[in-house]
Symmetry: none
């Protein structure tokens, strides 16, 4: 099946959104894609017709296996090109996204195979995001517990060890969720508690036992 650049952008956006919630909603896609809800609805009908989306009107939607597979293909291309732009052409990592957005729609499987070989089959892109392999398998990252993270390194929350209501409630209060960017600004050796800085929020203190349950990884 062939997809236009526009369709591919929607597929990618839906894929990313459904990583953090069971069903995706129209406004969320419209917001991330800087388009309007009506345009999203139009595209949903098209993607449903192409059988890569589970969708019933007013009920939310998500990619099916076919759709996820295609999304991973696009993400693979995007991240391989980002790797190329930084490692081979010498771009700064914060300049590459819009160029990779264009390159990811070039449709030649052989091109991607050869590019991947040429780059040495890299597992992570310059933002630290994993590059899916040709079958859509995603390498998983060395993640570490927040209580052993060195000071001042900016990291992203990748998982939470304890998912009790109490823990989740507290994390919500601290504005911490999967993907939240944060860094440790101080470590108190008295009790192992940490002062942390969550992006856009004032510093706060968390206990060692909470920190032990927050897993993070480097980069974006």
């Amino acid at each position: 099946m062939n997809f236009s650049s526009s369709e591919e952008n929607y597929i990618k956006s839906i894929y990313h959104l459904q990583q953090s919630c069971e069903l995706v909603n129209t406004n969320a896609v419209a917001a991330t894609m800087h388009t309007r809800a009506a345009s999203v609805t139009d595209m949903l009908k098209k993607l449903k017709r192409k059988k890569i989306l589970q969708y019933e009107r007013y009920k939310g939607f998500k990619l099916n296996e076919q759709g996820k597979k295609h999304a991973l293909g696009i993400i693979r291309k995007h991240r391989l090109w980002e790797y190329f732009l930084v490692e081979k052409l010498g771009f700064a990592w914060d300049k590459i996204h819009p160029i990779a957005e264009e390159l990811e729609h070039i449709c030649s499987d052989e091109l991607i195979t050869k590019l991947n070989d040429y780059l040495g089959n890299p597992a992570f892109d310059p933002h630290g995001d994993p590059i899916p392999d040709q079958h859509g398998r995603i390498p998983n990252r060395k993640q570490l517990s927040l209580n052993i993270l060195p000071l001042k390194q900016t990291v992203k929350v990748s998982a939470v060890g304890n998912q009790s209501t109490q823990m989740l409630e507290m994390l919500k209060h601290y504005h911490i969720g999967i993907g939240t960017q944060l860094s440790v600004t101080k470590r108190f050796s008295f009790d192992g508690s940490l002062e942390i800085k969550v992006l856009k929020f004032p510093n706060c203190i968390i206990s060692a036992s909470v920190a032990k349950n927050i897993f993070v990884h480097h980069d974006k």
Copy 2:
């Protein structure tokens, strides 16, 4: 000024056609682009509005200086990518054209500057065609068509005039590519066909119409 991929394809087509005739005509563009004359007319109006084309209805048309400059920019991108595909990714030179057709529309000047540096500022692409520099200057190489080459002079193939799949397939069969060393051993005046000797291969016969499309140069 920004141009869509479609507009760029027309610009490129018109540029190539006006290399061999003063004014370009609608049907010629339609034929090379596999589209219809009416579509060409529509686009001519648009390109005239964008002030890169001299055009009066029923009278033929050609790119003005602005238009030629833009055409050379697209050709530069196309040929740099072709060089990349062959020299870095290891593609066969007869497989790269459709991929470069897509890559040439990626619009980042910095990307092309960095790609050019990375490739070592090459002057000719893998088909032997000159790569315009960032100001649109085209490097020249004294080359001549094989059908007027004197007998027994050893030369190198520098370009191929007709890049159709059929032509490229035939050249492959004869073991002829860019850089191939060869000489003309006989010329039959009956039909203008030639016997040629390709380095390391047995002599073979090619027709005048094929020879006309093979351009060669002396030494390196």
